[in-house]
Symmetry: C2
Subunit: 560 residues, 2 copies
């Protein structure tokens, strides 16, 4: 085990720091979020881009993932306007499962601390591929380059380290052995006890097309830190970022003498999907899923019928309430960025902006509903057409369904305050890039605003009063779920009432966000992602239930 002791020594301080951060919820980042040459090496970006380009129109192989490959599969298209032409091996599902089962036998025998050290080494070595992953993310998801780097690189890896930290903290919450001595009058009974944390089995993580690493790594690392093995089932439209990660991870594991099949990948296609077959397999005991509510419900049913653990992140409807502000410009700037970032293709992006019909209070007096709406619209338009920031902030639409949704929404009712327009992406003239559409609805148009319109779509909605706005928002959270909620108020009683009701309804709340912090971003080690408490899903990245449900504690008592 000397191989592992080395990494235990190398990484123990980092792991302790991560555990301290999740415990006190203070700011922590293991990997810097700036894609700067000074941090990551002056040539790192260019080299990453070169390696990315070499992958286009080629066959991607996993030399350390063994098993029969019947054929290849690959249907990724860059949302920036070109086919990726990458083919991946189509692994046999039964074989993949068998290799996972075998790998688990040795993996779970390694101590939790050693597992943590090994996994951090996996992450450290894969982090050398941050730029490869960034370009891969940009050209599968449509994210702008900066976001691609952050979301699939440092932020996703920090979430993985967070899962390691919370998992280890949970596993170490109780002593794993004790000499138990019960006094019984003049005698005593001594029992030697061991408490074994037994992993549930294999954990399949079903990825989405928009955040192929950020949404998948937490579940994968929560699985493997707790002794399970894991299989990443990628979305057919967004494979490459995970492929690069798994390729690197397996290489690291092999070099450390660990069975690389603790982390495997399964790539499928839209015509021949493999998710249900994978998740239904009896050896699969844990499912993590990010995606549509409809398919999420199918997986939940499979899990429930077969007593599997499932963590989901499904659709939600995120709302904002503006009651009163210090500076409307600062608020509108912040909201415009939140709506525009990656064209609203974040599960945490705000969609419904509720504003009292009689307007809001500011430090400089009151402002009418129309003026508030127009200020937001102006800021959205200003950002979209900003030659420096617009295209990069918006990125491109991952798929045509989202593009069609942007067109459809203008036909369902309400008044279009801002039309969506084509945005030029430098060097990518065929990019599927469009600015947000902003539509004014009525309070009574709940059939429109109580569903998720995923993409660059925002509604401004007059409500009778701020109190009514709180009621409508809370109701939406309870019925439709939400992954974020946002409030702007300078009124303590509104703040108190909204906080109480929104928290009770089950959504995390952000109050008076202005400046460089946005409701749609959650910070690793401090913010949970969502809450697990609304119909939008029960995954959290990462509270105790996110890890403690992945293993059982089994006692062995011995009298000697």
């Amino acid at each position: 085990m000397s191989n592992f002791s080395k990494y235990l020594e190398l990484h123990s301080e980092s792991i302790q720091k991560a555990i301290r951060a999740v415990t006190d919820r203070s700011f922590y980042a293991h990997w810097p979020e700036i894609p700067s040459g000074k941090i990551y090496g002056e040539t790192a970006q260019a080299e990453g881009e070169e390696r990315f380009k070499a992958m286009i129109n080629s066959i991607f192989t996993f030399p350390h993932q063994s098993g029969t490959v019947s054929s290849t599969v690959g249907e990724e298209q860059s949302p920036y306007g070109f086919p990726m032409g990458i083919l991946y091996p189509r692994f046999d599902i039964d074989e993949t499962i068998k290799k996972s089962v075998i790998a688990q036998k040795t993996w779970k025998a390694i101590s939790a601390s050693e597992r943590a050290a090994i996994l951090l080494e996996v992450l450290e070595r894969a982090s050398k591929k941050f730029f490869d992953i960034a370009f891969a993310t940009q050209h599968t998801t449509g994210q702008g380059f900066m976001m691609s780097f952050q979301a699939s690189g440092p932020h996703a890896f920090d979430r993985a380290l967070e899962a390691i930290a919370v998992g280890l903290k949970s596993l170490q919450s109780f002593e794993s052995s004790v000499t138990w001595v019960k006094p019984m009058g003049k005698m005593e009974v001594t029992v030697q006890k061991e408490f074994v944390s037994v992993p549930k089995g294999i954990g399949v993580v079903v990825g989405c097309s928009t955040f192929p690493l950020w949404n998948s790594l937490p579940g994968m690392f929560a699985n493997i830190i707790t002794g399970n093995t894991t299989i990443a089932k990628t979305h057919p439209l967004s494979v490459l970022p995970m492929a690069i990660f798994v390729h690197s991870a397996q290489e690291t594991l092999v070099s450390l003498g660990v069975d690389p099949h603790i982390i495997q990948i399964v790539v499928d296609s839209k015509d021949q999907p493999k998710t249900i077959e994978l998740c239904s397999h009896p050896d699969v005991q844990i499912i993590d899923y990010t995606g549509s509510t409809k398919f999420g419900n199918v997986l939940e049913e499979i899990a429930q019928k077969n007593k599997k653990v499932i963590f989901t992140e499904k659709a939600g409807v995120n709302s904002v309430l503006i009651d009163s502000v210090k500076s409307l410009d600062a608020v509108a700037d912040n909201l415009a960025f939140s709506i525009s970032l990656y064209s609203g293709q974040m599960c945490t992006a705000p969609q419904n902006i509720f504003i009292p019909k009689d307007g809001i209070q500011t430090s400089d007096g009151s402002i009418s509903f129309d003026e508030v709406a127009q200020t937001i619209v102006a800021k959205v338009q200003q950002l979209a057409t900003n030659p420096k920031a617009g295209a990069g902030t918006l990125g491109a639409l991952q798929n045509n369904d989202t593009y069609n949704r942007v067109k459809e929404v203008t036909t369902v009712g309400g008044t279009v305050l801002l039309e969506s327009q084509k945005i030029e992406q430098p060097n990518f003239e065929s990019a599927r890039s469009f600015s947000p559409v902003v539509i004014q609805l009525d309070q009574k148009d709940s059939t429109i605003y109580s569903k998720e319109w995923f993409g660059p779509i925002a509604f401004v909605i007059p409500v009778d009063t701020a109190e009514k706005g709180i009621e409508v928002m809370s109701d939406l959270i309870r019925k439709e779920g939400a992954l974020s909620a946002s409030l702007y108020t300078q009124n303590p009683s509104i703040e108190e009432k909204a906080t109480e009701e929104i928290v009770e309804s089950g959504a995390p709340l952000s109050i008076n966000f202005t400046g460089p912090i946005w409701v749609n971003q959650s910070a690793s080690f401090s913010d949970m992602h969502g809450s697990g408490a609304s119909p939008a899903g029960n995954a959290t990245f990462s509270d105790l239930s996110f890890v403690s449900n992945r293993y059982n504690v089994i006692g062995v008592r011995k009298v000697s």
Copy 2:
């Protein structure tokens, strides 16, 4: 809140001790298990018995549980041979739920530490009723007096305190507020964050007829420590112990200024059961259940369809493997007690005793299968007919179904090695009290021994080898579930193999138990009850998942 501070001060040391005990899993008991006059007061037992007798043939009321009472209900019969004649109010379900919802609003606003102190005060005051509860338990469950005292008194209350401790530990695992400062080059962003632990709702705890407090208090206290309210749905045949407890708890809560409806009771009847109506109510978000697999599956389906949290303890098949021993007498003594204690009516009682067909090794040479079987039979018979210990150890059969099972089992196959016989219970000549039946089966008789025969029924079963025994046991655990498993061996390789396979199958294992410690007893603060890992159920009393699934953590972030 000065009322609560007083109890915070009074109980903080005890709560810290309990948290330390669950953390290091060492021996701890808050309430002494011996029903001794020196500990509990010389007149306590007599007074308890007197109060118990006064309850017979009377109407039991809950002065602090308000709500419409349409009629009374009561069908308890003492297994010692007389009708209890106690009538309980039949509370309206909708009203009960409404009162629970109202009570939760104030309850969850009290801090977790204060909740813990209040709940320990509830337990302390109820512990003054240990003897009342003991007699009530004896005459509803059929347990012997000593066990009635321990299981419904100190042991059950220790399990409740354990749930408080694990719940508080879980709630306090992460800081609940932080000033988060993110450095961003020359500037920084400061966000004030609160993390609110939000209870899921109402937790209904469905009790069983054999352990009306021991199996119910952990779930109830796990519910209320995490800010939920709780409703005890008692088994129609075993109400009184919980009635006495809830009566006392509500009295204490009122005197502390806490809404007593955080803990309510619902009594129903076999003809008009209320469990499904209660558990199906949308405000009920957590279900704890102990009982048959069949009805457990019904509740699981209700829970799964409606996204409720459910913890179950259902039927299991518990096995013993004897490979080699130091002293067969010591082993047979221990096994005879485990089989006889409360007539095998414990979910952890051993049923199947696997013995290699060629016999076992002892310190004094080898002993044939037949001799091992006969030694066990002799010890069982000896204990049952022991004038001092027999009747008290066996107690009485809770219901006629169990009595009928004892008769039925002799007709299904195998060779009866020991017939069940009527046991005299001093002062209770009509007691439903019977000694264990022991039947020899074949290894191939798995249709008989792979189901639970709840009651004083044991099988001795020859297996080809000890290794084969391990295989059969592990297979049974995986397929049928088990709440205990027991191994006797002096062979390190058998011990290693059995430990690995049985733990992997999901049952807690006890090795070489002789003397005053038994496989069917688990120690609060140290042993989990079961493992949550087999088809016998997912409840554990109490690991992290037993508490952390009862609440969500919701973040509130504010920029100021």
